[in-house]
Structures are given as structure tokens and as C-alpha cells.
Amino acid sequence: MKWARTTAIVFLLAVCAACLLANVIAPASYARQFREQPNASPSRQHPLGTDDLGRDRFSRLLYGTRVSLLLAPAAALLTSLLAALVGGIAGFAGGWVERSVMAGTDLFLSLPWLFLLITVRALLPLNVSPILSVLITFAMLGCLGWAGAARIICADARVLAQSDFILLARASGSNGFRLLWRHLVPNLKPVLYAQFWISVPVFILTEDNLGILGLGVAEPLPSWGSLLRELEGFSTVSGQAWQLAPLILFILVVSSFHLVLTKEELPV
């Protein structure tokens, strides 16, 4: 399966390069409305046609991919760090600390956080730019997504804390932060990587869901959420296969993320 992993990495790099070079590649601004050509079919001027407002679909796909693909990993990194901090300390300390932290984590998991996101979004100031709006959305996703990963990391840290090499390190005089940083964290890396890669598509999907609820990225900035929203209704895309491009790209990217994980990194 090495070839598949290599192909996935190359594909992800190509997609990242394309969206980073969107300013050069895109035939038009993602916001420009060609009002005389709404819902146009693919043409030389518009390789993927235009949307309902006459905006170039290809340009919107490039910029939307940039938004979702760059911010989702950032949110996943934030989540992984928070999960490592909370889960690692709880698992390493054990006893009442672990029980208290895990009780808090369970409580956090039980919150209907989609509604919480909607509420938080509604409480935010109205005059925020689309860029700031998307940053806030992904920051919220990053801050709220750590609990599940924290439980996994806590369980792993607990096993490690009771292992022979930690016992040996303690006997050698290591304690506190040094024990955590030098011995525990390096051994938690595989599970942290796995959590990171799993979180990326989860956040992309969550942003899509928020977009479908109209609460994701503000217009006119595109994201995969807003692009996938155009596929609402099974009869919408009949006879307009090019509208499926964002969905196909999304599936390929999410599949590639999973292929990138090595066998050892995949969670049991």
C-alpha cells in the first residue's frame, strides 16, 4: 500500500499548491458576479461553469479549497494539542485527577455542541469580515473538538505511566515535567498524529454542516461547505455533472488523508 500512500501525499500536495496559487490560476475573482451568465455550462472562460449568481465555479472551488484545507488542519492541530495536554496530564497523574478530568471530558462530550456553535456564532459581533468569520468558525471547532481525542490519549498515557521504562525513569530520578516531556510525550506521538489526521476531515465535514445551516463561512468567501450546499436536493445536479466537482474533490481529499496514515498510526 506504499504506492497508495505516496499517491495520496502527491495528490494532497498538488491540491495544496493549486489552492495556494489560486490568485494565479483562477480565471476570475471568487466574488465577481457575471450576471449575464448565471448557471452557465463549462466553457473556456469558466472551466466549471458559473453558479446561480454567475460566479466562476472553478475560482470558487480553488479559493474554497484553500479556506477549508488550510484552516481545517490548523483547527485539528489546536484540538490535538488540547487533547494531548488534558488527556496526557490526566492519564499520567492517574487517581482522582484522572477521574475528575475525565468526568469533565464526559460532560463536555455530552454537550450538544452544534447548538453551542450556533449560539456562539449568533452572539458574535455582526460586522466581522468573511476572513475573520472563517477564522472564528475554525477556532471554535478547534476549541470544542478535543474531548474525544483526550479520552484516547488519556487511556494511552495511563498505560505508558505504568510501563517499565517509566518506572525505570522514576527510579533514575526523573520526575514531573522532565518525565512527561522526555519520556511520555515522545511515546504518545503516534496516537497524536493519528488523532490529528482523523480530525482534519472531521472538521471539514463540520464546517460543511455549519455551511449547510448557513452558519459557516460568510459570503462571498467560498468554502467547501458553501460549495457542497449547492448540491442540496437530489434533482439539482441532474444533467449538470460538473456541479459535482467539489464533492469529488472533497471525497478524494478526505480519502487521501486516511491513506496518508501508516498502519501503525491508524487507531485500533
Partner: protein, 544 residues
Amino acid sequence: MKKLLTSFVLFTLIAFGPGRVMAQSGGELHFCLRSEPKTLNPLLAADDASETIRYLTGGVLVRVNRLTQELEPALATSWTVTNGGKTITFELREGLRFSDGTPFSAGDVAFTMQQLMDPALHSPTGDAFRSSEAAKVETQVLPKNQVRITFPAPIAGLDRLFDQVAIMSSKSAQKEMAVLGPYYVGENKAGSYLILKRNSNYWEKDPAGRPLPYIESVRLDIQQNRDLEMLRLTRGEIHFINSLDAEYFDKVVAQDPSMAHDAGASLDSEQMWFNQVANSPLPPYKKAWFTSTNFRRALSEAINREDLARIVFHGHARPAVGLVSPANKFWFNAKLEAHPFDQKSALERLAQDGFHLQDGVLRDRGGHAVEFSVITNSGNKYRERMATMIQQDLSGIGIKLNVVTLDFPSLIERISRTFDYEACLLGLVNDELDPNAQMTVWLSSADSHQWNPSQKTPATAWEADIDKLMRAQASTLDPKKRKEDFDKVQEIAWQQEPFIYLVNKNALSAVSPALHNAHPVVLRPQVYWNIDRLSLTGEVARNR
């Protein structure tokens, strides 16, 4: 023998021949409700589904003809409004019976009015008659099958309000299930379907003397999913879709143009307004923008309504003129026209208030860049698209518009309680033709006076003028005088633009060729307003 054979052939051709289009009795009409009716009590109907059941089953004293928009006799053969609009006297038809056979009398009208005005019932239909809380409504049963209803205060357009009042039986053991309309509820499978059966006691007959309605029963399937509703129409499982949005309408046109009906501009409007509430948490310079007539007029001129109608609604909408849609034949002020798209004129108006363009950015006298947000409800793609188009239009005069979609409760909280918003884009669903229905919007003291609600005294001179004119039109029975007053209200609203009216959506529907005598109109219910005269083709009627 030859004559007999010829008669038989003729009978066969008439009865079973292809392409038969004359009114055919029998059959079952199928269509969908988007939700389950919340009540079958006609006095409590407030949601679309309950109102549909009320329309199909309820017998009313007078009926607004949805095609001509004129009031026509129904259970009452004639009526007179007297006492300055406080009293209405109906002369009732004789010999009528409810669906269960109970005789209809003036006592039933008195009973219905008593129920309707009972404060404990909280009837939404009754609210329209509550012009004063001072005294009770008096109903007198008079000789010659007449009934007189006296209200404590005058009600303009009183007679038209009775179009919504389904008469209930005071004697029937079936209570509200005994009806005087063309159908009665035969079966109600909660969450799934309702079957309405033909009321054999229905009073009306066609010009040939045949009893109405023609169709034997109506099956109403509860179907929330619009895609499935469309699929069922194309498969011939339902006979019509009463109200379609532009996107689905175009799909019907693509599949079978003969099924698509665009009745023209409806009474519904889409509009945008600015927050003019004095104690809102907006900075003073923004309050100054929003309370400036020039600012509002300029922004109105900078919005391309033609493009909104053409692109967002696929051409199935008209640029809106003002608070009354041209579909409202009597009350629309025909002197007014939609504000034209003219960004040059918009900039000139803004210049009068000290706004100026600097590096492509519009700034006010104090140098503040003109940037504000517009909120709309999430999930409504038409409004989101309109907001996005307005965003581009306003960027043409250097204004930065931020589009914010909020869930509906949050939006309502902001526009009606905290007033923490700058501009809002919403629509108004309007069923009523009479301007009295708009009193709750246009009186400055009203809660629904959205741009600045519940004012103790009018904040501006033009709002005081509108108050005066709205009260004047409501206090007279002379239609000409009322029209003059309401025309002036429309002119003031057109000049001041507290609401920037954007478009009037068209009334769109889809009707199967199997359904005859359907003439979709702009007023609700668009397709089945003449339900008693609809018929199905012979084949369909027999198969059902």
C-alpha cells in the same frame, strides 16, 4: 334497433372516449400538505395546513373571489354594513344543512361569533375583529332568517373579514366536524394523510343545476420533502402543487411546460430595512446614516432590483414598488413605480448628506468608512443570494456590506428585543388585501413597525403623517376616501423608504393536465380556490 345502437355508441364515446374534458363528477383529488394541521377547529386555524382544511371544509357567510378579488355571497345572500362600520346584517340562505344533516340557522352564526370572540379561545381569526377591548360583540337573531352583529368599535373592511369565519353548528353532536363547506373530514391519519369526503348537503349547484363539488373526495398527504412532492407530481400521484419556488418551477417547466402556471406578482414581498431605534446599541454616526432619508433612498437606487428578480428568482418575480403589490388590484397606487437602478443618482444623493468617495471607499462627513451588516435568516437561499447580490451592488458605490445569516430565533431576538443589528433582510407573507391588515406594521406605536417599533410618539413628521392617514382610512367606510388616504401612505413610504422593497415574488404552481377548471391565481389558495368546481378527467376519476 339502429337508433338504439347509435345511442349506445354515442353514450360510450361520451362516457369513455379519449380526450374527454367536460366536468366529470367523482374521483379523488390528491395533493400534499407540507405539515400536519395543528388543529381541525376552524376558529383556531393559524398554520397553512389548518387553513387549507378550513378552506376546503368551512362554510362562510361571504367569500372573496380569488380571481376577481371581489366579495361574493355564500351562506349569506346579502349583507349591509351600517352604524359607521360597527354593525353588519346578513340575510342567510334558507333550508341549508350541515354535513351531518343538522339544519343551519341564524343561531349557528350567533354561536360561531360567540365562540370566535371568546377571549379564552384565543382565536387568531377572532383577533382581526377585536378593534376595541371595551365591550362585547352583540349578535341578534332577527326575523326573516337575518342575523345582526354589532361590534364595540368600527372595523374598516368588516365584511371581507367574514371570508375567514367558518360557521359552526350550535346543535350538532359532531361540533366543529359538522361543516357547511364542500367537504368534510372523513379520515385523519395523524402524520400521514387526511381524507376529505364530499359534503352531500353542500348548498351550491353549477349553472346546469348539478350539485357541487364535482370531485368525490380529496386526499391530502403530509409530505415535507419538496423533492418528493415534485417526484409524485411527475409520476401522476398528486394533481397539483399549490405553491412552488422559482427553482422547482423551472424544473416543472423543463419536464412539462403545460403543468407550470405563473400567475404573476403575488402579494408577498422581500424587503430590507435599517435599524432606526433611538436607543439601539449602534454608534451615533451609524444612527445618523440610517435615519437619513437621502441615505436610504441612495441605497435603494444602488440596488439592481431587475437583476434580483432575474437571477435570484429566475425571472419569476417583479421589482417591488412599495408596501402594496401590484397584485392587489384595488389598493395598489398605480402612480408609483419601482425605484430605478441608478448608482450615479445614488452618489449624488449621498453627497447631499456629506458622503464622499475616497479611494473607492464611501466615507461620511466624519471620515467613517461606510460599512454595515445585513442579517437574514439562515437556510433561506433566496434571501442569502439577494444579500450577496446587494453586497456587490453596494460595493459599486464604495459601501462594504457584511452578510450575516442567523438562526431565526437569534434574528428575531435582535430585531425585536435587543435591537443589536444594522440592517435586516426579510420577507412579508401577505394574505390580506385590505390595508387594515398592515396597521400593525405602519402605525408608529405598533410592535411590528420594524425599523423603530413601539414608539410613544412618532419619531418623525412623516411617521406622524402615516399614523394619521392609516387611522383616517380605518375610520371611514367610504372606499374612495380610504383609497385616497392609503395612496398617500404609499407615496410617503415610497419617498421615505423605511422599508426598501426589493421584489414581489410571483405566485407559481404546478397543475396536472388531469385536473380541469383550475385557474391558478395570486391569492391563497392559488390552485384550489374554486375547489367545488374542479374536476378530474374521466379516466382519472374512474381509476380513483
